[in-house]
Symmetry: none
């Protein structure tokens, strides 16, 4: 939800202008401040940002995004397996990527995935699994010995360029072999999808054909100690984005599915908030992740972002009504900022709000980047948030005697 | 410009009392905060402070001041060369230092330098170069193999003590040899300068004779990646102090010379500011360094410091007039504090001000240590400043996805 003050808009931000009486109420009797996701000036991906939010040092635990995404999609990942984030994409007959997201359409993707899973790789000792996730996205897991995550993407990350050949990023045999397997899979994906009836159908419907699988973000599984053993707490996660589910799953959090939760702007925030509140009975910590303001930010749409925040606030109404703040805590923050002016993640600090039995009242009338910047929590690092909360829950060991 | 609040002066500081309408205007619509140059309680030299300001970790890149000073003075430094910061100094006939700075007078120093460069060292395989810089200051570079920067200073750092013999700081042959060479040079400097006609002349004019060269701060060249490759930016530096020019030069910044810029209290700040503004057309980042408030602080002169700040503010008037803050950024801070009560560098945090298209307005009426301490930037480390600004310029890579 965080954004940059815009001099041309009289320093307003989506959070600053949004009507959000419930967040404001929490901020008034809670503490507020700002959080650097990793460190000032470090621009985080959602993955490393979530590691930090959950108290895991990303410099230690980040082993590429693919593995997290695979776990989030419910796939099994072994110790040596390598997973990639994939897109159903569109290339033209010269292999130039004309739409990295194949129109963001999910039409026929399940059937295409079935076909892809019949691919015979040249490297017979390595098996694979391809699973569609959200919208045009999917995960590819390579399973076997002698694999490496040190290979380049086949996704050119921009349209108008050709699909790339993966290359090893180091001199190892494992990296060379993994890049060859990925190239083999990518070529065969194009061969098998190119003339597939589903794509004929898609074109007839005015959709770009999903005629190649492009991969990025290779990753293995980070060896994370579960929150349950680390802090003796039971935890759950309400979220849709595979990356969030993946990290939460590795942290040992129970994943809660919610009807109407899409991970997009059309998600049912009230249903998600309700589900989070319901599961507070059985858990010490419930993590509720809502992606919509980030989606609006990537669209560069100020008003859409403000609206998403207002709709989230409607969900928070139920938090205000039903959470007993003399007993329980509510923390509201972002994993990172995505300024609408940038349309991408930025390194800016994000606002945070913590209300609960023993956090002081800030007394502010509104929760915004402006009030948070001079708030009574000061300026924190995200990696400190879990220890701060676990301290309030009496779950941190004493250092020294 | 930063200083300590003085209870006896009703907590006033030079920055707090100075009339500086232009800084205040920038602060009002910009963000303010405080910066620890290295870390709270670490008292920095100008060298390490500048490393941090420019985004280089001084614990990694600081290899002694001499090398930086030499580069700043335009001298060539090879990989194994060792440079010293020197003073033209005055000793009496018992070798007691009576004036470390020989009256701060530059009278005759060029001619004395010529004489010094004819010294024949005992160690014939090592060559040297001696170059006067600002006021009574100079640089000595030793060139050759088998040298070390681990030797003690000949400068006693206080008057009333004798010129010191340099000693090795470790057991290595290189350190032993380097200290011997430095002692040889120092003795010969005294022999050659003692009765030199220039010094006879100086005494006649009421100036202390510049009759010895005292050395301190041995250093080699740190292996720094240039800002241009690190962040893909073109950069320039407007500054006089050799140490600043040295570090900026190593960072790959173009050094701009300005007529009337002296590095002292009499420097033409308006000319420097004008030169900095001019070169903004061709550069992404221009670093303007003004030393005067530090000079006044070393003098322990509160009013002189406040006046220097007021004169800097007159230069900033042109910044306020000509910089378009909906496009460009202005950052105003100090490399370190030099409280007038201390007359030396201190570890105190310094105020910072950042105005630009997307930093929030602090709304303060005055820029001072007091308003900055509770400002909307919070408390930062200097090492984070470059990443913070490069984030705004879209020049930092994403960590994660």
């Amino acid at each position: 939800m965080g954004d940059r003050a815009d001099r041309k808009r009289n320093f307003r931000t989506p959070l600053g202008v949004a009507e959000k009486p419930n967040m404001d109420a929490l901020a008034k009797t809670g503490s507020i401040g700002i959080v650097d996701p990793i460190a000032p000036g470090v621009r985080p991906g959602s993955d490393v940002a979530h590691f930090a939010l959950l108290g895991y040092d990303p410099y230690e635990f980040y082993t590429g995004r693919g593995g997290l995404e695979a776990v989030g999609a419910g796939l099994k990942m072994g110790a040596g397996d390598i997973a990639f984030r994939c897109n159903f994409s569109t290339v033209n007959d010269r292999m130039i990527v004309t739409d990295r997201r194949a129109g963001r359409s999910t039409y026929g993707r399940e059937e295409l995935a079935k076909v892809l899973n019949t691919i015979k790789l040249k490297e017979s000792e390595v098996s694979f699994e391809f699973v569609p996730t959200v919208e045009h996205r999917a995960v590819l897991v390579l399973r076997g010995k002698g694999l490496s995550r040190r290979v380049t993407d086949t996704d050119p990350h921009t349209e108008g360029r050709t699909a790339q050949r993966s290359k090893p990023e180091d001199e190892s045999d494992e990296s060379k072999r993994t890049s060859e397997i990925l190239n083999d899979f990518t070529e065969k994906s194009h061969q098998m999808l190119g003339d597939h009836p589903i794509n004929v159908d898609r074109v007839r419907r005015g959709l770009p054909p999903a005629n190649i699988i492009l991969s990025r973000g290779p990753g293995s599984l980070p060896p994370m100690e579960k929150l349950e053993t680390k802090y003796s707490i039971k935890t759950a996660c309400v979220g849709v984005a595979p990356i969030v589910r993946g990290i939460c799953s590795l942290a040992g959090m129970r994943l809660i599915d919610v009807k109407g939760a899409t991970g997009g702007l059309d998600s049912d925030f009230k249903a998600k908030t309700g589900a989070a509140l319901d599961t507070m009975k059985e858990n010490d910590l419930v993590f509720l992740h809502i992606k919509a303001p980030d989606v609006a930010s990537h669209n560069g749409n100020f008003e859409q972002k403000a609206e998403a925040i207002e709709r989230i606030d409607e969900g928070i109404a139920e938090v205000v009504r039903s959470v007993d703040l003399t007993v329980d805590y509510v923390v509201l923050t972002s994993d990172h900022a995505t300024p609408v002016s940038v349309k991408d993640h930025s390194a800016d600090p994000v606002p945070i709000l913590i209300a609960g039995p023993d956090f002081d009242a800030s007394g502010v009338e509104t929760f915004s980047e402006r009030t948070a910047a001079v708030g009574n929590l000061g300026r924190l690092l995200a990696i400190h948030l879990m220890p701060i909360m676990m301290n309030r829950l009496g779950r941190v060991e004493k250092f020294g005697f």
